[in-house]
Symmetry: C2
Subunit: 340 residues, 2 copies
């Protein structure tokens, strides 16, 4: 591959001049010279070495996105938003699926630091693990000190700029919605308790029940991974323990899909026998049968915002956290409670 030097040689100018015209510097260059350089660059099919550039400018134009799992549509849609915003500004994105594992996540962060990425976007909720949180904050603090941008798109222990999703409020208002439909025995399918977002959603459910004058009943709670099979397993538990429930609120759409499937397999009609609601509003929520009532998180916009916030920080700004309310999307999977 041709280097700056090769272009300089061919254009009969110094590498400094070549650099100035090719890197879009504001340093003045005579027009004829500029033309000669451009011409030579084209002829040699010159492609600047981004590593060398990054080494000297200490800007790599790389964003690292740490997600729980890129194959989970929630994160995939978010990363797409992030990617589009990044790309529009000449940035690339590294995907890092941590599987909610503290060690994997820390290893990924260290690697991102090695590549001297400009920004790290934490897309998943923080893992509840003291020593992990301490080490992560240590790494990120050092990174920020050197001018790196850290953005959080889910509840986190590390204080950083980002978007604050109203997880608790979202879960609470969905619970209210079910209560308003006449449901009194509402099962809750919770996500992994070691994820902060899970806890907040559970807290919102509980809060809404109690505000309504109902007591929180542990028989109505089952826990699992944020996956369809996690949801399916949880609903089996629930049906065993509380056969009288008339509605189920799942902590994620993926879980709700598993719930829906399990109910269909058992011949339980939704929403006639049991209403089902989800959380996230991933694309498929509108396409399952029946279409899923859910709490909407605008994943694409969220990813987009993540990149924008990162750019603000890199530009020297100090963006305040944005609060994002999570509206309910009513579809066909919820309906009035069956008379008992």
């Amino acid at each position: 591959v041709a280097s700056l030097g090769d272009v300089a040689h061919r254009a009969q100018v110094s590498v400094a001049t070549v650099s100035r015209v090719l890197s879009g510097s504001s340093h003045p260059v005579r027009n004829v010279t500029r033309e000669r350089v451009l011409q030579a660059a084209t002829e040699l099919d010159f492609r600047p070495n981004a590593l060398a550039k990054g080494l000297v400018t200490t800007r790599t134009n790389i964003i690292g996105a740490i997600v729980h799992d890129i194959s989970d549509p929630y994160f995939a849609e978010m990363v797409r938003g992030l990617e589009d915003a990044a790309n529009a500004t000449g940035y690339q994105v590294f995907v890092c699926s941590s599987d909610r594992d503290p060690d994997r996540e820390l290893t990924y962060v260290r690697t991102l630091l090695s590549y001297r990425v400009d920004a790290i976007v934490l897309a998943g909720g923080v893992i509840e693990d003291r020593s992990y949180q301490r080490e992560l904050s240590r790494l990120l603090a050092g990174f920020e000190e050197e001018g790196g941008a850290v953005v959080t798109l889910a509840p986190h222990s590390h204080r950083a700029s980002g978007v604050i999703l109203e997880n608790r409020e979202g879960a609470a208002s969905m619970t209210h919605h079910l209560l308003a439909l006449g449901h009194r025995r509402i099962g809750f399918v919770a996500g992994p308790p070691q994820i902060r977002s899970s806890r907040l959603r559970l807290a919102g459910y509980r809060q809404a029940l109690e505000a309504f004058g109902l007591t929180y009943d542990e028989q109505l709670l089952a826990t699992g991974w944020f996956t369809p099979s996690g949801g399916a397993a949880a609903v089996c538990e629930l049906l065993d323990r509380a056969p009288d429930l008339t509605a189920i609120l799942a902590s994620s759409d993926a879980m709700a899909f598993g719930v829906l499937k399990e109910l269909a397999d058992r011949g339980i009609a939704v929403p006639e026998d049991i209403s089902v609601a989800g959380f996230d509003d991933v694309q498929m929520a509108a396409y399952v049968q029946p279409p899923l009532t859910t709490v909407r998180i605008p994943t694409y916009a969220l990813g987009n915002a993540g990149a924008e916030i990162a750019f603000e920080i890199l530009a020297g700004g100090n963006p305040r956290p944005r609060r994002l309310p999570l509206p309910i999307v009513e579809r066909a999977s919820t309906g009035p409670a069956k008379a008992s």
Copy 2:
């Protein structure tokens, strides 16, 4: 951040020595010296600069993955497989969603070349566009000449190592399956014709029909994007033109999901009134109602293989293309043809 020089200074040795112990060189280093270096590195929280390393070794440990759309579960699942294999070998992956746009794709490739990635994995089917194909091949040929690895995971114009999915055969055997169930009027929901994979699947459908002695009927063909809404729109067209069809084969699961939804909205029973089959077997295929009969592409394994093939090439090998047959997964969305 501490540099090699800082570590060398603190350990009272030369940077050469530090480099040798920290980069895992096979060059002999006395044990006491090694210990001193390790100690100093820890104390300084040394984190090697991957850019500088890449600049001199001409190996960046980066793989670029070009997909049509990372928010499409088909690609997200594949990228996860790619990421896991890459990560296990100390590689990072850039995600590049081209939206099937020739310019976007070429721009991404140029950028990847600028970052001197070690490998480029083309995950989506080639776009049928002469000048794009020519330019792409030119870029990739240059890249390969410099030792870069190119891997294709879908039918492509650029000849490279990779996996050959039996798209045609997969579509043909699904068509046979429907024929065997007694269906004679089988609608086909095709993907965008400018994608090679789309054409192959259509060809397989047609081939199976003709092998069976039926004539291919254009009234039974509708085209759209590889999305749920693309599938929904196509099925509307189809139902208008050929109200007598008893089965529909969609070119992707995403499209099939749209078909399923549209049929449900119209109160058409699946599979009693119309059988529906998809293509891909993404995770959700097993979770929609009714669970989708589909042609299985092992996306995760495919991504995994992509990375492995790349590593083989980088190790100097010349892996032969692997053919991958696509088996049918029978679920509840297909059944015997309704007696007419």
